[in-house]
């Protein structure tokens, strides 16, 4: 009958053969010299070392010798890093970074604290990230720069900031950066990412867009070249900007006598007209009412 309880069969190793390593190890172990070294000399040497370690003078001498050897090895000319190559950044940034990092050189590659050097490189506002490597006795720094997205006017200063609102550099004049939209107002930098959405949404209105003004730390006003303002809601400013762009494309809205387009309530857009236009509208409305009365 077939057994119901499964028992592990005794392991039969057919045609067993020792591995080449096991074979060599056994042969090595059977070598008289190796055997004697392992069984007699090695324990004797270990005992002698242990006894010698107990004497303070020996211990200090051994430690000093170890430290000296280590130092001599680390400061061999093969391990000295003396050159510096900075890539991936504009000349100003590169020279600034090189000036800071160059102070640590020349040094042994064992003593170079690359994380700290990286910290030093990324401390620059213009530097987004830095990759440091040592090869061929040179320290190679691959920088990636922050790309400015806006000019931010705050008080008297003009600052270039990136889409996350971090400072990249100071700007001397607005005219030096004609391609970048202007942000104005307190707290504009911290909302830079939503400003970017608004700018993207402006579409056909983009040539007209002069600046985005932060109002009350919570919402944007888009100022157009004719001084007209598009008042955007705190939530979904990009969608509202799209609405404004559509209105302008269909109605030529901002070529008319409009000073404000108020989109703060998306359900109820308002426009504010110049004084003569308002009078015209009122007159037209009165005329319409009168005609209605006559009927």
């Amino acid at each position: 009958m077939r057994p119901l309880i499964r028992r592990a069969a005794p392991a039969v190793r057919r045609d067993y053969a020792p591995s080449r390593l096991a074979y060599r190890a056994q042969r090595l172990w059977l070598t008289p010299l190796v055997r004697r070294a392992a069984l007699r000399w090695a324990p004797a040497a270990a005992l002698a070392a242990l006894v010698g370690w107990g004497v303070a003078a020996n211990r200090e001498a051994a430690l000093a010798w170890a430290a000296e050897t280590r130092h001599a090895f680390e400061t061999r000319p093969e391990f000295i890093v003396s050159g510096l190559t900075v890539t991936g950044a504009s000349a100003d940034t590169a020279s600034a970074v090189a000036e800071v990092l160059g102070g640590a050189l020349p040094a042994s590659s064992f003593h170079l604290d690359l994380p700290a050097l990286r910290e030093a490189a990324t401390a620059f506002d213009a530097v987004a990230d830095a990759e440091l490597s040592v090869s061929g006795g040179r320290l190679r720094v691959a920088l990636s720069e922050r790309v400015p997205a806006f000019v931010w006017r705050t008080g008297e200063r003009l600052v270039l900031i990136d889409p996350e609102g971090r400072r990249v550099a100071d700007a001397d004049r607005r005219a030096d950066h004609p391609g970048l939209p202007l942000l104005v107002g307190q707290g504009a930098s911290s909302a830079a990412s939503s400003a970017l959405d608004v700018v993207h949404a402006a579409g056909p209105l983009l040539p007209e867009l002069r600046a985005l003004v932060r109002v009350g730390h919570r919402r944007w006003d888009a100022v157009l070249s004719g001084g007209q303002r598009v008042m955007l809601p705190p939530a979904g400013p990009a969608a509202a900007m799209e609405v404004a762009a559509r209105l302008h494309a269909r109605e030529r809205l901002f070529e008319r006598a409009v000073t404000h387009l108020d989109l703060r309530d998306p359900a109820r857009p308002l426009i504010r007209l110049l004084e003569p236009a308002r009078a015209q509208v009122a007159a037209a409305r009165a005329l319409t009412l009168a005609a209605g009365d006559r009927e």
């Binding site: 045609d15 067993y16 053969a17 020792p18 096991a22 074979y23 056994q26 042969r27 059977l30």
Partner: protein, 442 residues
């Protein structure tokens, strides 16, 4: 010629070094099993009451022994290098473990390789009247070399007989006075590829080859007693993949041959005839095999044990008579081949026509009777002489070649290359000339 000489002398030097260190391994690479002895070689022979000189056999003692099933060897030649290497590693490791020493030098046997045997004779005129070692070397070198064929190095070259003027049958002519020295040389060549494979597999096991011996010769050394070697006898080593033949006369091997047929063929016949696995066939052959069918054998069923997995229905049986009917023709074929080889060697002309069967194949019951019928002479089964320290399990007829290798290691036969080259090399000759010139002029 000279490179054979150099190679063999180099192996001889390795062997001397091994004997000086005191340890040497012997390795029988057979087709059915691979065996290894680790020998300790002492300088002094044991002496005691009633112990004579034991032809140097007392000097060796087996201190490590192991055998394993052979793999990677077919018809006595290496067929799978990795497999053979693994098998050799296995035996060498366990023999070393038993011995507790490391061996670096190994004497190996070659059972296949199609050995071919040649009888040569040479003649040399002695200048100063007394035979010296240089004259012996000269007469050996004067032997006319037969065409051995492409890539067939010399395995053995034994000086068999020396004759000085009209006196023949001299074992050692040195110091004797005469004028014309002639010698008979027995030369065995083998296939170079088989030898190189053997050397390669030994090298892959981190060992150094200290000699290659024809397995038939080694078996003859072990299985023949002194009288048989003296009077003339043939040793038939029936191995697994090859059957080795060596003919001895006056304590020298005078003929060697190998037939690529062996016990493995019998096993394969059983496996095919009874439709069973080869391992099962091997077991049935060893336990129930025979050569002489009797009436009782018809009534003796052998369970074949199937092995197909269908336990219920595959319970076939065969009678022992059927088994014998399979085994006998193949054994007869092998013996016929042996007979043909012995006839070709002129075995009939020997004064004594003893045939000694050894090797695993000789253990089939009824073998001596059948062999006597085919070979037509006195036949006996030869068990190898005991080497001191050899375990009982490794000293049956199957291990004749292994034991013979041990005896060979203890006291190797002088070979042609053991004599100093007779002024064949330029510096020696010029030096000798210079000395002669000095002698005659000063």
């Amino acid at each position: 010629m000279s490179d054979i000489y150099a190679r063999q002398r180099q192996m001889r030097a390795v062997r001397r070094a091994a004997l000086q260190r005191g340890y040497v391994a012997i390795l029988d690479v057979g087709s059915s099993k691979i065996g290894c002895f680790v020998l300790r070689v002492d300088d002094a022979e044991p002496v005691g009451a009633g112990v004579g000189r034991m032809a140097g056999h007392g000097r060796v003692r087996v201190i490590g022994a192991a055998a394993t099933r052979s793999r990677g060897v077919r018809l006595g030649e290496i067929a799978g290098m990795t497999e053979a290497e693994r098998a050799i590693r296995t035996v060498v490791q366990s023999a070393q473990k038993m011995a507790g020493v490391r061996v670096d030098h190994v004497i190996a046997s070659l059972s296949g390789g199609a050995p071919r045997s040649y009888g040569l004779s040479g003649e040399h005129v002695i200048e100063d009247g007394t035979v010296e070692e240089g004259d012996v070397a000269a007469v050996l070198s004067a032997c006319e070399m037969p065409p051995l064929g492409e890539d067939r190095p010399v395995l053995h070259a034994h000086p068999v007989n020396f004759a000085l003027d009209h006196r023949s049958g001299l074992a050692d002519p040195r110091g004797q006075v005469g004028r014309r020295l002639t010698c008979d040389l027995h030369l065995v060549s083998a296939e170079g590829a088989a030898l190189r494979n053997l050397a390669s597999v030994v090298k892959r096991c981190d060992l150094e080859l200290a000699g290659v011996v024809s397995a038939g010769y080694a078996a003859g050394l072990a299985a023949l007693v002194e009288d048989e070697k003296e009077l003339g006898a043939a040793c038939v080593d029936m191995g697994g993949g090859a059957t080795g033949i060596s003919v001895f006369l006056r304590k020298h091997m005078i003929h060697a041959d190998s037939i690529p047929l062996g016990g493995r063929h019998v096993t394969r016949d059983i496996s095919q005839g009874l439709q069973i696995a080869e391992e099962r066939a091997e077991r049935i052959k060893c336990l129930q095999g025979g050569l002489q069918a009797t009436g009782k054998d018809d009534r003796e069923p052998i369970a074949l044990g199937g092995g197909t997995g269908d336990w219920d229905r595959d319970s076939r049986q065969a009678t022992r008579a059927e088994l014998i009917g399979i085994v006998r023709p193949r054994v007869e074929e092998i013996l016929e081949e042996v007979r043909a080889a012995l006839d070709a060697a002129g075995f009939d002309h020997l004064p004594n026509q003893q045939v000694v069967l050894t090797g695993g194949g000789s253990e089939i019951p009824g073998m001596t009777t059948l062999a006597a019928r085919v070979l037509g002479t006195q036949v006996r089964q030869g068990r190898p002489m005991r080497v001191r320290g050899a375990p009982e399990t490794l000293s049956g007829p199957s291990f004749a070649a292994l034991t013979g290798l041990g005896l060979f290691a203890a006291e190797p036969q002088d070979e042609w290359w053991d004599f100093e080259a007779a002024a064949t090399t330029f510096p020696a000759r010029s030096l000798r000339r210079a000395i002669q010139w000095m002698r005659s002029n000063w």
